[in-house]
Amino acid sequence: MLKQMEGSLAVAQAVALCRPEVICAYPITPQTHIVEGLGEMVKDGELTNCEFINVESEFAALSVAIGASAAGARSYTATASQGILFMAEAVYNAAGLGLPIVMTIGNRAIGAPINIWNDHSDSMALRDAGWIQLFAETNQEAADLHIQAFRLAEELSCPVMVCVDGFILTHAYDRVDIPDQAQVDAYLPPFEPVQVLDCKDPVSIGAMVGPEAFFEVRYLQHHKQDRALDRIPQLAAEFKAQFGRDSGGLIRSYRCDDAETIVVALGSLVGTVKDAVDEARAAGSQIGVVSICSFRPFPLKQVRAALQSAKRVVVLEKCLAVGIGGIVSDGVRKSLSGIQLKGYTVIAGLGGRPITKRSLLDLFASAARDELQELNFLDLNWDVVHRELERGRQQRRAGPTAENILRDVGVTGARVA
């Protein structure tokens, strides 16, 4: 049924339709509305057969999910930013144990400096933990991916995180088609665990594994993600057959067929890029965009196939590997191994800095003229940067950087963007 609603609540409704059995919640902006929505549904009886537990930290949240999943219950939690770092140990633990937990990440920048706005640094910080990572482009996809996520997680016995841009998607009101229970039940069967704590058939889960076997256990995790590369598009196809729309999959190409320049991006940013691509095309530019939905496993073959005929690739990332540059770019570069084309990394939108169509159009034009650096920073205020560097040169005790810059930049409430 079509509804106009907040992204978080669309996610909550989608999760509720998946018949979760244990939900644990610790509040952190910007995912809070999701777990509040689910909590309300459990409390007023709309969501039955579900334990909703208010925990005392994110570490506890994922730990409760770990215990519940090991005991055979379909388990869910949500977090962001500082929260996923606080539960980092448990994130690795869940993947290593092979527990099919689904977790929403309301993508938010990681401090310091503390920042509540959107970028992808939180999901990226845990990209190698062994979880499958799916990025939603719209609120519709955010809802749909959770349904696919439970199916994928339980099939492979591998946890899945669904990444939804904080504020931009979570707090946006959009038109979303919420499926009905029968549709979801037909797509998502009850959870049948590969391993479970059961008094009738006791097992020990989580033993210490030494050099004689650790390698094989870890390799098998990697192998699961290989299998996911096949399953993800298959499950997306099944989803389309059941629900009637395209959602998920590994990557999507938009106007790339004869593109000389191809932009690569993840998440809600792709929507703005598509509008910019249309405008650039109308002005004669041969440009397209590839959106990556499955970031882990990274679809090397599919990205290669999509990009190999372009003259240049511009990877637009909402994350920065401090000390080296792009993160998504690394995967893209790897997928293009052996192919000669120009590659540019553009870091944008960190800490919620708006990414405007105007800036994108200027960027595309520079790219087309090959006037970009290898590593670029979109709409970074270089004057502010240089002033702070100068402050540091002038005196040893220059003070905290963030506070200096805030004083320099002035009252931001006065400006639109």
Binding site: E21, V22, C24, N49, C50, E51, I53, N54, V55, E56, S57, F59, A60, S63, V64, A65, I66, G67, A68, S69, A70, A71, G72, A73, S75, E89, A90, N93, L97, L197, D198, C199, P202, V203, S204, I205, G206, A207, M208, V209, G210, E212, A213
Partner: protein, 247 residues
Amino acid sequence: MAFQPVKFYQTGTFTVGNRLLADSERTVQANMRRTNSLNSGHRACQGCGEALGARYAIDAAMQATGNQVMAVNATGCLEVFSTPYPETSWQIPWMHSLFGNAAAVASGVAAALRVKGRSSVKVIAQGGDGGTTDIGFGCLSGMFERNDDVLYICYDNEAYMNTGVQRSSATPPAARTATTMAVGPHPGNVFGTGKNLPLIAMAHHIPYVATASVANLHDLEVKVMRAMGIEGARYIHIHVPCPLGWG
């Protein structure tokens, strides 16, 4: 059964459990058909008090619940020596996640059992003093506060033994550990520090808190069995010697 005020032991609790009491008053351990939940073959040190305590406690719990017990273990000696890959000495469903989250994982297991309508199966979380009073403290307090249906057992050997005898907040004053060496003007662990976990547990107003020692088998078993008959968050603090760390 009533406590036995025994003046002193000459031959140990096993003898006391067997020879000095009538059949009906013997301990669970004295029974040939005890579940032996922590089976032999584990890699604990000679004379490990924690191995003893775990076997005593879990067997008593199994007796009390008709063998319906699952255990969640924190990282530590017990977890390491009881599950040397590819073997396990546990005869019950058992799980180890991380060092600091045993209480939270146990809460999750209990929630799953509840939602599946299997709340007659009981969950025990266990950890050493380090995993309970220090790194696991937050999760433990959360479990207490929510009154989750979990019995948490702390095996207190007064230091982080598995990693080489470092001081924990359960280490007594003046004790020598690798991080509170017996040197300098204030040798050993500092006076005026440390946490009283049983008191803290009581401050959470949970339904049952007890302290016990492996030196008193009957008492320990009674307390565990009593705890298994109560619903909600329960805590038992068991004092266990560590021959290596205390030697």
